[in-house]
């Protein structure tokens, strides 16, 4: 997953002449319009096709999809609750990991790292984002899972409420929700760092100098001035990372265990919406495909929702700093 260029600067004004200089529509304008129309068509087709393919399921089995806990192919019933809970569990834990580590990382990159090293460090974190999902998947499965079984799981099982949170101690499976959450956290970390770095570094230098001049320590400046000023943008970063987390497919498919069990025991296997589609699609026919398409619609809603919220927040942050 690579980073798309992120543009947090106000749009440059397009020279007015471009629109008013000529009302004569040349072939150039028509070509552009056709391109735009084509793009619009692809986007509409994207949403429409998946929705249309899933329509039968929504009409006849919609309730089951949203409330049922068992998924039995090829004829049903198709219960989507395990996928939904799995998606939410893994995404939220991954988000927590990514935000905690990511915030500290961004702060360190912006404020504590000397300028010369800063580019190298930033490149390192960005390269994390370039690693394909499937590679994270095999790494998680082959390297981290055994390591966790030996190191982390026993430690977790010694917690007082271990059985409640983590399930039966001592049992080992090929994959678990916890493993998926950890791998997912590593994967969305670069997203969070990229955006939070940007919003933190555009907090006006003025404010930082003013607080230092009042006797603030470095941490006081960061905690009381920089972070609150960047707060809205940081929420934007959080939502975008959440959006990415919900959409990660292959890594989760490889390490979550692939079992459609709706439960909250993190050391047990589970699945997510995207992973389930990937795992089940190959062998499915007819109705089951429509049901998977329906899951796809759910995924789209979740992902687009978080994406749009993030965009709105980042825009608001931009406007706030324009006033400052």
């Amino acid at each position: 997953m690579t980073q798309i260029p992120i543009d947090l600067h106000p749009d440059d004004e397009v020279v007015a002449e471009f629109n008013s200089a000529t009302t004569v529509r040349t072939w150039y304008h028509y070509v552009l319009l056709i391109g735009a129309a084509l793009f619009a068509a692809v986007s509409v087709g994207f949403v429409g096709t998946i929705f249309w393919s899933s329509l039968p399921v929504w009409l006849h089995h919609g309730v089951t999809l949203l409330t049922g806990t068992g998924w039995i192919g090829p004829a049903g019933p198709f219960g989507g609750v395990p996928m939904i809970t799995g998606t939410l569990e893994t995404s939220i834990i991954a988000l927590a990991l990514a935000v905690v580590i990511g915030l500290g990382t961004s702060i360190a990159i912006v404020f504590f790292i000397p300028r010369r090293i800063r580019n190298v460090v930033a490149t390192l974190v960005e390269l994390l984002a370039a690693v394909p999902s499937v590679v994270y998947g095999i790494w998680g499965l082959i390297v981290i899972a055994p390591w966790m079984a030996v190191t982390v799981d026993p430690w977790l099982n010694s917690w007082p409420f271990a059985k409640v949170i983590f399930g039966n101690p001592g049992q080992q499976f090929g994959g678990s929700l916890l493993l998926a959450s950890v791998v997912l956290g590593i994967m969305i970390l670069p997203t969070f760092v990229a955006i939070s770095r940007e919003v933190i570094s555009v907090v006006p230098q003025d404010l930082i100098e003013a607080s230092l001049s009042l006797g603030a320590t470095r941490w006081q400046v960061i905690r009381n001035i920089v972070l609150p000023t960047a707060k809205i943008g940081l929420y934007g970063a959080t939502f975008l990372s959440l959006a990415r987390a919900t959409g990660e497919t292959i890594a989760v498919a490889l390490v979550a265990g692939g079992v459609a069990n709706a439960q909250f025991h993190l050391l047990y296997p589970g699945t997510s919406i995207a992973a389930w589609i990937a795992l089940t699609f190959g062998e499915s026919q007819g109705n089951e495909i429509a049901a998977l398409m329906a899951l796809g619609v759910l995924l789209m809603l979740l992902n687009f929702g978080f994406s749009l919220i993030s965009r709105a927040l980042v825009n608001r942050q931009r406007k706030l700093l324009a006033i400052v």
């Binding site: 543009d7 994207f46 790292i113 394909p132 499937v134 994270y136 995207a274 992902n303």
Partner: protein
């Protein structure tokens, strides 16, 4: 100026307050500095933690992947191990050919249209343009498996082409398109308006200015965005998993099933044969190397062009 008059009244209390402020400041100083130092250290630790996975991953990749790479790996077709010959995994030439074919077809579909829409968005101020921009940004973050579902529904099913390279390329093209649109728009907007104005002042028509002056200047930014889009598409499994069929021959014809590197990794990882699972590291190493080269090239290109401009 009553405010100023009041000023004189408030001056008498000056020093007791000052002394108390200084006293408390002095008393809390050590703690405040200690907290600051601790948090600074914690943030630096966070940075280290963030960098560690990449280092470990790369190390593992090289350690387990390098031994897998030999001439046969790159040039022979895969084979299935048997009980007699458990290590007869063959090579991954089909996946390499497939990835190259998919990338080329997807680029043909996505790049021209993507740049075109990027130009449109950069030069048009309208509700349609704003909506398209939001759509592009949202699609850029969409889960890649949805592209696979789209390609399945449309290409494999509706167009009745079946599992094929073209279906996979379609899915990848839909994946690449928003990224190219966004980065092209940014690249074109970054061209200084003074260049446009100079062109217009010389009497050139707006569309000639765009084509002859703006686009060439924005070219490096567009190339960067395209490289990033390609590097992302090369590594994606989910969109191709559903639609390319996973052929076992060196196929590149658009209407036949093909394989791809990420797919080979995915299949190999779930295989029951340890030899196939081990080979997966070699494929992963090749894939990651390819993706890194593309990403780093894009980044270096971008920063160098930035320096030239400055």
């Amino acid at each position: 100026m009553s405010d100023i008059v009041e000023l004189e009244d408030s001056m008498e209390s000056g020093h007791e307050m000052r002394d108390e402020i200084r006293r408390i400041s002095h008393r809390t100083h050590a703690r405040r500095v200690a907290v600051s130092r601790t948090m600074v250290a914690l943030c630096s630790v966070a940075l280290l933690i963030a960098a560690v996975p990449l280092v470990f991953l790369l190390w593992e990749l090289i350690k387990q992947g390098a031994p897998q790479l030999n001439k046969a790996f790159f040039t022979t077709l895969p084979s299935t191990p048997t009980l007699i010959a458990p290590n007869a995994t063959g090579g991954v030439s089909n996946a390499i050919v497939g990835t190259i074919a998919l990338t080329i077809y997807a680029s043909i579909l996505a790049i021209p249209l993507g740049v075109l829409v990027g130009v449109y968005l950069a030069e048009t101020e309208s509700k349609m343009a704003t909506s398209l921009r939001i759509i592009a940004q949202t699609m850029a973050g969409a889960p890649s498996i949805l592209m696979g579902l789209f390609a399945f529904s449309f290409v494999v099913h509706d167009l009745n082409i079946g599992f094929s390279a073209i279906a996979g390329s379609f899915a990848l093209a839909v994946l690449m398109l928003p990224v190219i649109v966004i980065s092209s728009e940014i690249a074109i907007r970054n061209v200084p308006n003074s260049l446009r104005e100079a062109g217009l002042a010389l009497g050139a028509k707006p569309h000639k200015v765009s084509m002859r002056i703006v686009l060439p200047t924005a070219l490096s930014g567009i190339v960067t965005g395209t490289l990033l889009a390609i590097s992302r598409a090369v590594g994606e499994t989910a969109p191709v998993l559903l639609v390319i069929g996973g052929g076992f021959i060196n196929a590149w014809q658009p209407f036949n099933p093909v394989s791809a590197l990420p797919l080979a990794i995915y299949q190999g990882a779930r295989s029951q044969w340890p030899s196939q699972r081990a080979q997966v590291w070699g494929i992963a190493l090749v894939l990651v190397a390819f993706v890194f080269v593309l990403s780093l090239t894009a980044r270096i290109w971008a920063t160098r062009k930035q320096q030239v401009r400055n």
